[in-house]
């Protein structure tokens, strides 16, 4: 924790040298990251980083610097270099510190040696290889993180949080002659090692092994505009890419997003509700407070088709004249925070997945996705599918190669025809301006009337 006297001095210096807002972000993070290929440990990173990031606003300008050297002399040498003159502003007194903490059930990963974690990975890999004969390789990655942060600012905020996270990423590779197919799953949680007592990791490994095998007869994917059904779960990353990023305030300034100036307008059919909620207990993408010290919350971005608002961090809120939404996030103290998503999902509807498939003469069924990206100004997004099947005459028939699905966010929203009742949330990462952050993405099964499918068969 930061010495309160030093914190007061930093805030005072910033406010008496042109800053009208000063924020201190202090962090101490222990992390383990292990990858096993079969029974061989191929990547291993174990350690701890700590440091401080100081942010100063001068009207609409942001100045940020960070260092691992937390000594007063070093911090003030940097501050004097970057802030040497300017108006004097008043600040709020520092409030009494509020400490957020994980619940008492958490089994801290640090209490377990990496021997236990390696054993978990090996069990997963062996389970996949044993269960399905054409699996020639299994690769499993384990991550845990114990991040302690303290956030102090000139508006009186003084909070601390401890974030414990863990996740597995299991990939199975199946082979038949020259054909290689893979499948993955990435279960994770806001919590500790108890997570692995709640799930059966080996069953997950067997499941992805079977899914990889099922893709071996895949044939070329057709191209063109086709109806698409995306299965429940991490397929929700489609909406993370297609709409979520375009609704982050930092990208909406000056009309730079396709959704700029459209709040209050109908942007989707009434059956579509899009939510970002960082406060879901135990979820991988959740946080008690964001990286600016605000409590996370449920932000309804689109309510029954009507655009309600965007995700806003402190600086974007200042620049846009709006309020913060508990969405200021960063990978670590080396980045200033910007508005980012947490757990983003399409809420459940009441359509049946089997009716969606039955309604399609020729189309694509997508079980999972590899990842994607978006141009927030034009709204053009792309995402690459995994576990892709052809729908013919109302039935899922044969597997096809992965394809890239594209469109624009506003167009895709309007083309959502059916929203299922089988909601599920998946876990992954988002890579953007303030580094890599853990996110949830989810949806029930969704039918989209038409998308451009970038396959290889014309």
């Amino acid at each position: 924790m930061l010495n309160p006297d030093l914190a007061e001095k930093i805030l005072d210096y910033g406010m008496s040298h042109g800053g009208d807002f000063v924020e201190i972000f202090m962090e101490d993070t222990r992390q383990t990251n292990l990858t096993m290929l079969g029974d061989e440990l191929i990547r291993s990173s174990v350690g701890k980083l700590a440091g401080i990031g100081i942010r100063v606003f001068r009207n609409m300008e942001s100045i940020y610097f960070h260092t691992e050297n937390e000594s007063e002399a070093h911090i003030f040498a940097l501050m004097k270099k970057l802030l040497n003159t300017g108006k004097v502003y008043k600040r709020s007194p520092l409030g009494e510190r509020i400490d957020y903490a994980p619940n008492g059930q958490v089994r801290l990963p640090v209490k377990f040696g990496i021997k236990e974690q390696l054993s978990l990975l090996n069990r997963c890999n062996q389970a996949g290889i044993r269960a399905v004969e054409c699996i020639f390789q299994m690769r499993t990655n384990y991550v845990d993180m114990d991040q302690k942060v303290q956030i102090i600012n000139t508006e009186g905020v003084n909070v601390s949080d401890r974030r414990i996270k863990t996740r597995l990423h299991i990939t199975a590779y199946a082979k038949d002659g020259d054909m290689i197919q893979s499948s993955y799953i990435g279960p994770g949680a806001m919590g500790g090692f108890e997570f692995y007592e709640m799930i059966n990791a080996e069953e997950y490994a067997v499941r992805v092994a079977r899914e990889a095998k099922a893709m071996l007869p895949a044939r070329p994917c057709p191209t063109g505009r086709l109806p698409v059904v995306i299965a429940n779960g991490f397929g929700g990353l489609l909406f993370h890419e297609a709409c979520g990023h375009s609704l982050e305030a930092a990208g909406m300034l000056d009309g730079a997003s396709e959704f700029s100036g459209r709040i209050g307008q109908k942007v989707a059919p009434a059956k579509v509700t899009l939510i970002d909620d960082g406060s879901i207990p135990g979820e991988w993408g959740s946080l008690m407070i964001d990286d600016e010290g605000n409590e996370t919350r449920k932000n309804v971005l689109i309510d029954k088709g009507i655009l309600q608002g965007c995700l806003s961090d402190r600086l974007s809120a200042r620049r846009m004249g709006t309020t913060v939404t508990g969405s200021g996030r960063r990978e670590n103290y080396q980045y200033p925070p910007v508005s980012r998503m947490t757990n983003t999902f399409i809420a459940a509807g009441d359509d049946r997945p089997e009716d969606m498939i039955a309604s399609i003469e020729k189309g694509i069924y997508v079980k999972n996705i590899n990842g994607g990206s978006v141009n927030t100004a034009t709204g053009q997004f792309n995402f690459n599918t995994m576990g892709t099947y052809l729908i013919e005459q109302g039935e899922i028939t044969v597997p096809v190669h992965s394809a890239t699905l594209i469109g624009t966010g506003s167009e895709i929203l309007q083309k959502i025809e059916m929203v299922g009742s089988d909601f599920k949330l998946g876990q992954g990462y988002c890579f953007a301006g303030s580094g890599t952050v853990y996110v949830g993405a989810g949806q029930p099964t969704v039918k989209i009337r038409e998308m451009t499918v970038g396959g290889e068969q014309v």
Binding site: S44, V46, S62, G113, T223, G255, N384, G407
Partner: protein
């Protein structure tokens, strides 16, 4: 050279670790300094400054590797505990290292922010001189200096450094209800070398030129990949040359060493000291010299890339391609600067390549390379935009299509290369490529 106080701190840590039973304690140290300035609406919008040093300590205990990363070396007990845990559980054996010569280090002062601001303001003004420019959402300049040190138990110190400065632009154009963006990233030593003002004019014009684009009909088209696009696709496929992927059939090039994978005149080289290259290194992150090498020679796949661990598996020496994304990360396979070249008769201006193509598509932007390429099959499918070519001239813009193909087919189908080169966006490695004219790719649109 390395700060004397830091060396003293590490010496104390080594003594502590030796007392705890570790032998041959050694360190990998990475210092990264960065200055970033972004201008918007003729004002400084954001300014970031970073200077961080991260360490990885390794020591041998009973033939096993104990290791941990940190950035505050004074916390001896925590560091020793983590190293002990790893040494007890690790199945990674200890590997000897031999250090070579030092690279060149420099520590020039940062450029004057007032000068940077003035140039960026002029660039922003220039972008707004194009009437369709609606927003300049990025007009920035960044300087990054990364220095690595390898320090062993006998106090041998090896160091190397890479640095770059880069101007970035993102311009949003609007007209008649249409929106398009133009992006640019240029490198140089100093802001005055970059000619970012001219780049702003070109980028704004490019964004305006793309307005009103619509998808083309699905089909197979001759394709001219603009240099930046060609570099981005090549960079995405670099892992297919890594021995660790080739070893187990996880690369489309597995089993193809010594065979033809590209058009006869094609050369793909690693040039660690490429003039103007973004990743100029003399040694890799394992202390091994990075040598110039030819991955593809006259169309033949001639060199696999090895770090030390991959080399041990094949009982050979590392090719000097062991790189780390950070001090914390394990050594992976990586490269410095990769360049693609063809025969003189293949090299032409963009105008000549367009004429040669006759009808087809000039691809000026792709997205989705992060997920849209498959290293095992070589297949790729990416969202693309650009200009239609007919007959031999740039005509209407297109967008919202995918281009799909296969990496080996792409290399075999090269029919011409451009004269001007572009480098990929800042990352651990750098690919420099000219425009690439190819026979055809599958396009999915209307």
């Amino acid at each position: 050279m390395m700060d004397a106080d830091k060396q003293k701190e590490l010496k104390q840590l080594s003594q502590y670790l030796e007392a705890k039973g570790f032998q041959e304690v050694r360190y990998y140290i990475k210092r990264k300094k960065r200055q970033y300035l972004n201008v918007r609406n003729q004002q400084i919008y954001s300014r970031d400054f970073g200077d961080e040093t991260e360490y990885l300590a390794e020591g041998q205990k009973a033939g096993r590797r104990g290791y941990t990363y940190f950035n505050q070396p004074f916390n001896h007990a925590v560091i020793a505990d983590r190293m002990n845990d790893c040494a007890k559980s690790s199945i990674i054996p200890w590997q000897e290292r031999q250090y070579c010569q030092n690279g060149d280090l420099c520590d020039e002062p940062w450029e004057d922010p007032a000068e940077i601001k003035a140039v960026l303001e002029a660039a922003e003004k220039k972008a707004f001189a194009i009437k369709e420019t609606a927003v300049v959402s990025e007009c920035s300049y960044e300087t990054v200096r990364e220095t690595i040190y390898l320090l062993d138990h006998q106090e041998n110190l090896l160091s190397d450094q890479t640095s770059y400065s880069c101007g970035r632009l993102r311009i949003v154009s609007k007209a008649n209800g249409h929106i398009e963006t133009g992006d640019c990233c240029i490198y140089g030593e100093k802001i005055r070398d970059l000619n970012i003002v001219e780049a702003a004019a070109k980028t704004a014009a490019m964004a305006a030129e793309g307005l009103g684009g619509i998808p083309v009909l699905s089909g197979e088209y001759p394709i001219l990949l603009e240099n930046r696009v060609a570099a981005e696709i090549l960079e995405a496929f670099l892992p297919v040359f890594y021995a660790e992927n080739l070893y187990d059939g996880m690369s489309v090039l597995s089993g193809k060493e010594g065979t033809s994978i590209g058009t006869a005149a094609l050369q793909l080289m690693e040039q660690p000291l490429l003039p103007g290259g973004r990743c100029r290194r003399k040694v890799d992150d394992e202390g091994i010299p990075v040598q110039e090498k030819s991955l593809i020679t006259d169309g033949i796949f001639t060199a696999k890339l090895y770090n030390s661990a991959a080399a041990v598996k094949e009982s050979r020496k590392s090719s000097g391609n062991g790189f780390k994304s950070s001090a914390a990360a394990d050594v992976e396979t990586g490269v410095t600067n990769i360049v693609i070249r063809g025969g003189e008769d293949m090299t032409k201006s963009q105008e000549q390549l367009i004429k040669q193509m006759g009808e087809g598509l000039l691809v000026t932007g792709v997205d989705g390379v992060f997920a849209g390429v498959n290293h095992q099959t070589g297949d790729f499918s990416l969202i693309a935009k650009g200009l239609q070519i007919k007959p031999g001239k740039k005509t209407k813009p297109f967008r919202e299509v995918t281009i799909a193909g296969n990496f080996i087919k792409l290399l075999q189908d090269i029919e011409g290369l451009g004269e001007e080169w572009a480098m990929t966006l800042p990352a651990r490695q750098c690919v420099a490529a000219p425009d690439i004219l190819m026979k055809k790719l599958t396009v999915s649109g209307l």
